[in-house]
Amino acid sequence: MLLKLKNCCKFRWRVVSDNNLEYRYMLSIKNLHASVNGKEILRGINLEINPGEVHAIMGPNGSGKSTLSSVLAGNPAFTVTEGEVLFNGKDLLALSPEARSCEGLFLSFQYPVEIPGVSMVNFMRAAVNEHRKYNGLPPMSASDFLKMMREKKEVVELDNKLANRSVNEGFSGGEKKRNEIFQMAVLEPKLSILDETDSGLDIDALRIVASGVNKLKSKDNASIVITHYQRLLDYIVPDFVHVLYKGKIVKSAGKELALELEERGYDWIKKELGENF
């Protein structure tokens, strides 16, 4: 069993064994354990991501996909009990959520939060200027900021009016997800985690969101795409597909794995792992 795993992710195995090479990765997760309310959800995750890569994480319900994204973003509701995460050589778990964002990590929420009374413009201005402050830059001028907002809105074909409304308040499911990608476009993260960005989207919205993500893709940034379905991966083509099951990555392969999962489901993997996994 162990051998099999080793074989399918040769690349990973080689690197984990050589500590000196760690700095090469944008993100390196080692033996990550996390729990919520005393219940262990992540039971030893190992994952490395290089710039320019797109990693898809799939898995049955309750396998820990969203927990992984929450833990990486620093959601205080989750407790990390073991393991380490390096992001561009820095100890990610020691950073506050806001510092993680300023370091270039972005989480597109599965359920974006409605915040009545805070306008999108004020929210984004505060975020952009905090990022600039973190990087030792002066606040952006009002005209530059508005110009940038206009440009970025086009990435996801976001309605002008949405930007003047309160954050996500009264947005439809599709608008909320587009708004997430809009924020991603504005903040220009190095690593973006898209947590079930496809859920609740109709086909047109899915296409817009996916093309937004693709437009933002470059050789210097990377994405983790968490999804239930192969459909999204038709648009955002992953370099690697990982299967998360019971808090561990149990299978990693190229994009063809997603197609296989779509066809065969997860049962064959569960069977392979045996009942006592």
């Binding site: 506050s96 905090e130 924020q183």
Partner: protein, 450 residues
């Protein structure tokens, strides 16, 4: 009767000559009825339902002085200098005495030409005794209350504002109420506002404290709004920890009138605001809102009563509290719909967040409906800051303190948005933001509050 009341009863009996001599006839005429009420009833005791969360009687145990001889405390000239960045007619109420500064941003003469009367209630009661007498203390009567009685017994001055029928005043009258005494004392300002039929006016009342000793102000404000009239009343309290502010506000609204009351408590010591509104003519519309920002051990208790006495009136009520540290807030709001007040629309909302671990909130929304064709709602919620929203903001790079500030600001924003004067709205937003940042919320534009 306990010693708390008897000391004030003794003072009144012993010094009634002085009180009457220094008072004016119109006000003197009401003192005896008030005294009789006070003698019979005293302050509400600690178990009184309406004052459950504000122990009024104990407040009066403190050894305050009553300025019966109208001694003037030294005031600095700075007090009367004000350049608040809103266009307003400015006047002052220092402790209990009314001042009209010679210079104001806007000319008083323009108002005088229109027949508007504004000034000290004392002087106005001498100049226009019949006019003042026809309104003074008329909003009370059966509704007498210990605080109103106490004020009526001792009050000697206050703010009088009369807008004749059909007169429209676009800019607000700004009344700055300052407690300035250098000895612990009680002041009893008495305000009377009459807005005639088809008239339009607005009043901004800023309460501040310049004294560094204990002070108690027991204000009574009576407002009469005529048919088709528009009236906005903004009250902004920004005092200090040693201030006790008791306020009784009563409003009588005639048909098709439109009134907005916005009661904002930014910084205070102990406050109890009684707001009572009678909708007395069909088609009257009332927006009653308020917010409280509390920290340290501030205590703020708003008690509102809206009486729908006639059909076809609308009232919208919204109160929001943000309580930090160990501050305490209380809200009790009653909407009363009389038997024949059909087609009433009355909405009441009270939302609160306890940010501080030791902060406490007590809320009692009440509806009392005797009509059968009405639209009424009431709701109250008290909770902590929304953790998911906080994380969402932080995940975009906004630091925790800043994110909390944004959320608290957003929470009270819909109360601020009710302000119908744009420049005032901007100014309040600034003050509230400063307040949440922990800076002094006092308005920097005005020397009275420096």
């Amino acid at each position: 009767m306990s010693t708390t009341e008897s000391q004030y009863i003794d003072i009144y009996e012993k010094y009634s000559d002085t009180i009457f001599k220094n008072g004016v006839a119109v006000m003197n005429d009401c003192r005896q009825i008030a005294f009789d009420y006070f003698k019979d009833n005293g302050f509400p005791h600690s178990r009184a339902e309406l004052y459950r969360h504000s122990k009024i009687k104990e407040l009066f145990d403190f050894d305050y002085g009553l300025n019966l001889n109208r001694v003037k405390f030294p005031t600095s000239n700075n007090l009367f200098h004000c350049d608040v960045p809103i266009n307003s007619y400015l006047c002052f109420l220092v402790d209990e005495a009314f001042y009209l500064p010679e210079k104001s941003k806007l000319e008083w003469d323009d108002l005088a030409k229109k027949g508007v009367l504004i000034g000290s209630i004392r002087e106005m009661a001498q100049k226009y005794p019949d006019l003042v007498a026809s309104y003074y203390h008329k909003a009370y009567g059966e509704k007498m209350d210990a605080l109103v009685a106490f004020n009526t017994m001792f009050s000697q001055d206050g703010f009088f504002f009369y807008v004749p029928d059909g007169v429209v005043i676009d800019n607000p009258i700004q009344l700055i109420c300052v407690s300035n005494a250098n000895l612990p004392s009680i002041s009893n300002p008495r305000n009377l506002v009459v807005v005639g039929d088809n008239a339009k006016a607005s009043v901004l009342m800023c309460a501040h404290s310049l004294s560094n000793v204990e002070s108690l102000s027991n204000t009574v404000t009576e407002v009469f709004v005529g048919e088709n009239a528009h009236f906005d009343y903004y009250k902004l309290e920004s005092t200090n920890a040693k201030s006790v502010s008791l306020s009784s506000f009563v409003l009588k609204q005639k048909g098709n009138s439109n009134v907005l009351i916005n009661d904002m408590t930014l910084q205070n010591g102990f406050s109890r605001n009684n707001i009572s509104v009678d909708l007395e003519g069909e088609g009257a519309e009332l927006t009653l809102c308020g917010m409280v920002i509390g920290d340290s051990e501030q205590h703020t208790d708003n008690h509102t009563v809206v009486n729908h006495n006639v059909p076809n009136c609308v009232s919208k009520e919204l109160f929001k509290y943000v309580l930090n540290d160990a501050s305490k807030g209380a809200f009790s709001g009653r909407v009363f719909v009389a038997k024949d007040a059909q087609k009433t629309a009355a909405y009441q909302t009270n939302k609160n967040i306890c940010v501080g671990k030791d902060a406490k909130m007590f809320t009692e929304p009440q509806l009392e409906i005797y009509a059968d064709d009405v639209k009424c709602s009431h709701g109250a919620s008290t909770g902590q800051m929304d953790e998911t929203a906080l994380f969402y903001l932080r995940s975009r790079g906004i630091p925790e303190a800043e994110a909390k500030m944004l959320l608290m600001f957003a929470f009270v924003n819909d109360v601020i948005e009710n302000i119908r004067i744009d420049s005032l709205q901007d100014k309040i937003k600034l003050m509230v933001e400063k307040r949440f940042r922990g800076e002094s919320s006092l308005c920097k534009g005005c020397n009275a509050c420096k």
